[in-house]
């Protein structure tokens, strides 16, 4: 009989924990395209930092460094431009990106 009481108590406690929701729910931000672009920008900046370091370490010759740096900077510039455009003229929120 004891096991039945324990099981019942367990079920009640679980039900209470799952369905009793006092207070606030944390929902977090909806991810936007601008947010995504900022992440990409951070990745490109990190790539730039890595390239810079590898050049200083003597792993990347000057000619390679200049060309790689230039293409990464172009990529960063494109990202920054689109971020700026979205921040100036925000598009209506689409919610999910499906």
């Amino acid at each position: 009989m004891m096991w039945l009481i324990i099981c019942l108590a367990l079920a009640v406690a679980t039900f209470f924990y799952v369905f009793y929701l006092p207070g606030r729910l944390f929902l977090g931000p909806e991810k936007t395209r601008a947010g995504y672009l900022r992440e990409r920008k951070d990745a490109v900046y990190e790539n730039l930092r890595d390239l810079n370091f590898e050049h200083k370490a003597g792993k990347v010759p000057d000619a390679d460094y200049t060309s790689l740096k230039s293409s990464l900077q172009d990529e960063a510039a494109t990202l920054l431009a689109e971020i700026a455009r979205l921040e100036t003229n925000p598009v209506p929120q689409k919610g999910t990106r499906s």
Binding site: W3, L4, I6, C7, L10, A11, T14, Y17, V18, F19, L21, P22, G23, R24, L25, F26, L27, G28, P29, E30, K31, R33, G35, Y36, E39, R40, A43, Y45, E46, N47, L48, R49, D50, L51, N52, F53, K56, A57, K59, V60, P61, A63, D64, L68, S71, Q73, A76, A77, T78, L79, L80, A81, E82, R85, Q93, K94, G95, T96, R97, S98
Partner: protein, 718 residues
């Protein structure tokens, strides 16, 4: 007690089903009713449950709030699932310690005289218990995931639903197909049948948990990947979120695979640590694809490339982990390691098929979301080295998969079972491993996008010269120095492979060292610190990269250990007191043989004095045991390990005619390097998990970044 365990399992199943269904309902409604734009100044939305509906009259907002609350209950049900499964596991362990032989599982896997740690290990020693343990670990991973949901609530909600789907399968198994709390029919037995003797070894208390943590853990990156695919998650942040999960899981799997190898070496008594057994292969396959994923995912993170490939790799890793569990349990392929066989194979086959269909459906539905943002610019680039590395890992995995299933395939096609052994696997695995070593040396020295010939020459010249010098040195030294000296590659193909493995290992070591040296030199120049302090700082600034290099170094040490197997020797002899056996530089003299009996087992062993160079250096006592409860025998080899070689003695048995012990001696060079390498790999992985120190080096954004006149479309994440 059994009733409480059974109830806890049923409750866990109900909670998992609720997590899955309510999670889907909540996400479906949230998809239909987008979240309102966040108010300025705050990106985080908080809602009061009590006051929400008072001011907001729109149906959409109401549905949204309702779905948010349902989503929260789903999350909490997922958390409660862990508590319920944990309770079931605790009950089973308590039953083992209380010798409750009314429970069939305890009766079949324990006995009164079994020592405490093995009674604890009963939880994963048989079919039903190990499936419960699988469920427990999955629930534990889910518990942590659901507690950390604030990182990205929507992505975590999707991952939680996928995880709940997998959890339902395992909980259905333990509830309806392999219940660990099943009651033994007939009268209560005074004692149990005992634990399989092969499992009564200290490592078996930690090997299965490690392996299972690895197997189960790959469900988490898969859940995030599938969740991200279903919701068309913008960007690659899900990779960043799962990076640590993946590395921790990979470390557990690595640890599990090598603990299994060490257990096989120490217990099975055949003198080796890897026999290409199906169960060993089952653990290796997800490890191979998981390792490939750890590398290629960097390309997605850094360059937005290989998105589809990565999706397939993470799915394959998850799928192969389930396949491995299926292999060890279904009895479909025979193995010395398969401790649990039953009819649950059908359940696994259906689940494998279903998970494949679900993944393929969403993959093709949302394939457009996985378009690469960049193309491969040059064959001489870090990207291409990762690509080749991935192809080699996948080729190796396919070879292992083919060899493992070949007995079944040949049976279906030809009607007779053909088993493939070591030579089949080695023919592919050794050349592939050597090519992977070359890539391990080259990869870190190549730049992203492209690398010029000048750069290649600059980075490779000295490491290559060093590696060739070491190879020549090994060829010129006399063989009497012991393995691996005096390697003559023309004498045997095994020697050729060994020489290549060692030479390439030196190449990798030198490239890794040059990476630390070059980086340390830059820091030293800027800070004025000494070289060692600079290298420490360098590592702390990019723990993932430099931790990864240490992992590569660990792999090199393991490979050197593998290379030693080309020089293995063994001898068998029936020995009476005073008899001598010579192997390599060792002479073994049999002093005596004896017997002992204790409540758990009866044992016989021999005592041998070990001489080297005419001097006694040790005494060894290989043993053979007969376990009373299970009526099974097991060998306990005696292993004398040094950095150079292992002297491995096995008590094979006793000649029934004259009562003399039969002993087999193995001389296995460099085996200790394998275990040392694993410790280095684990150390490197732990280091890679440490957060980076902030980088003081700043790259100023050039003015032209701010002055882009015409915004051009960029690669999209969705």
């Amino acid at each position: 007690m059994a009733e409480i365990g059974s109830f806890a399992l049923l409750l866990a199943l109900a909670l998992s089903v609720y997590t899955f269904v309510a999670g889907i309902v909540a996400l479906a409604f949230q998809k239909q009713t987008p979240q309102p734009a966040p108010q300025s100044g705050s990106q985080i939305t908080h809602r009061s449950g009590a006051s929400a509906s008072v001011n907001d009259s729109s149906l959409v907002a109401l549905l949204r709030r309702g779905s948010e609350r349902i989503g929260e209950t789903a999350r909490r049900a997922g958390i409660a699932t862990f508590a319920a499964v944990f309770l079931a596991a605790v009950v089973l362990v308590l039953c083992a310690f209380r010798d409750d032989f009314s429970i069939a599982y305890i009766f079949h896997h324990s006995n009164r005289d079994l020592s405490g740690p093995y009674k604890f290990a009963v939880l994963w020693s048989g079919q039903e218990g190990s499936l419960l343990f699988w469920s427990l670990l999955l629930a534990a991973y889910g518990f942590v995931l659901r507690l950390r949901y604030k990182t990205d609530p929507r992505l975590f909600a999707y991952a939680s639903v996928v995880l709940a789907g997998v959890q339902i399968f395992f909980l259905m198994l333990v509830n309806f197909a392999a219940n660990p709390f099943g009651i033994l029919e007939g009268p209560l037995r005074p004692d149990g049948s005992g634990l399989n003797p092969l499992l009564q070894y200290p490592e078996m208390v930690i090997h299965p948990p490690m392996l299972y943590l690895g197997y189960v853990g790959f469900t988490v990156p898969f859940a995030f990947a599938l969740g991200a695919l279903i919701m068309k998650y913008p960007g690659e942040k899900w990779i960043h979120i799962t990076r640590r999960w993946t590395m921790v899981t990979w470390a557990f799997l690595t640890c599990g695979v090598f603990l299994g190898a060490h257990w096989a070496y120490s217990v099975l008594g055949w003198g080796g640590y890897w026999g290409w057994d199906p169960v060993e292969n089952a653990s290796l396959m997800p490890w191979l694809t998981g390792t490939a994923f750890l590398h290629s995912v960097m390309m997605q993170e850094k360059r937005g490339m290989l998105k589809m490939w990565n999706m397939w790799l993470v799915f394959a890793t998850f799928w192969l982990a389930i396949l491995g569990t299926f292999l060890t349990r279904s009895g479909i392929i025979s193995s010395v390691h398969a401790f649990a066989q039953s009819s649950i194979g059908g359940w696994f086959a259906w689940f494998l098929a279903l998970s494949f269909v679900v993944f393929v459906f969403f993959f093709f539905k949302n394939k457009s979301h996985l378009i690469s943002e960049h193309k491969l610019e040059s064959l001489m680039s870090r990207e291409s080295s990762f690509l080749f590395n991935n192809l080699l890992f996948v080729l190796l995995c396919f070879t292992v998969l083919w060899g493992t299933w070949f007995p079944k395939i040949s049976e279906l096609v030809q009607g007779n079972k053909v088993t493939v052994g070591g030579p089949f696997y080695n023919r592919v695995a050794i050349p592939v491993a050597l090519l992977l070593l070359i890539l391990t040396a080259i990869g870190p020295l190549l730049a992203w996008r492209k690398t010029s010939l000048e750069s290649l020459k600059r980075n490779f010249l000295w490491p290559t010269v060093g590696a060739i010098a070491v190879a020549i040195f090994l060829m010129l030294t006399p063989q009497k120095w012991g393995a691996p000296f005096g390697l003559k590659p023309w004498q045997d193909i095994a020697y050729f492979y060994s020489l290549m493995a060692i030479g390439l290992s030196v190449l990798v070591t030198l490239t890794v060292a040059s990476e630390f040296y070059r980086g340390g030199r830059v820091i030293s120049k800027h800070t004025g610190q000494n070289m060692f302090a600079s290298m420490v700082q360098l590592t702390h600034r990019n723990t993932r990269r430099y931790g990864g290099y240490i992992v590569h170094f660990g792999v090199v040490v393991v490979i050197i250990g593998f290379a030693g197997s080309a020089f293995n020797q063994d001898k068998e002899m029936e020995m009476k007191s005073g008899d001598k056996l010579t192997i390599g530089a060792y002479t073994l003299v049999c002093r005596s043989s004896t017997e002992d009996d204790n409540p758990n087992y009866f044992s016989q062993w021999a005592i041998l004095d070990v001489y080297k160079g005419g001097k006694q250096i040790d005494a060894m006592t290989p043993e053979r045991r007969f376990y009373h409860a299970s009526q099974q025998t097991s060998t306990m080899p005696f292993i004398r390990s040094t950095l150079n070689e292992d002297l491995y003695l096995v008590f094979e048995g006793v000649n029934q005619d004259n009562g003399r012990p039969i002993l087999r001696a193995h001389l296995n060079p460099l085996v200790m390097w394998v275990w040392m390498g694993v410790w280095i790999i684990l150390g490197g992985t732990i280091l890679a998990l440490v957060p980076n120190a902030p980088a003081p080096v700043r790259v100023p954004a050039p003015a032209r970044l701010q002055q882009q006149a015409q915004p051009a479309p960029v690669a999209t994440g969705d």
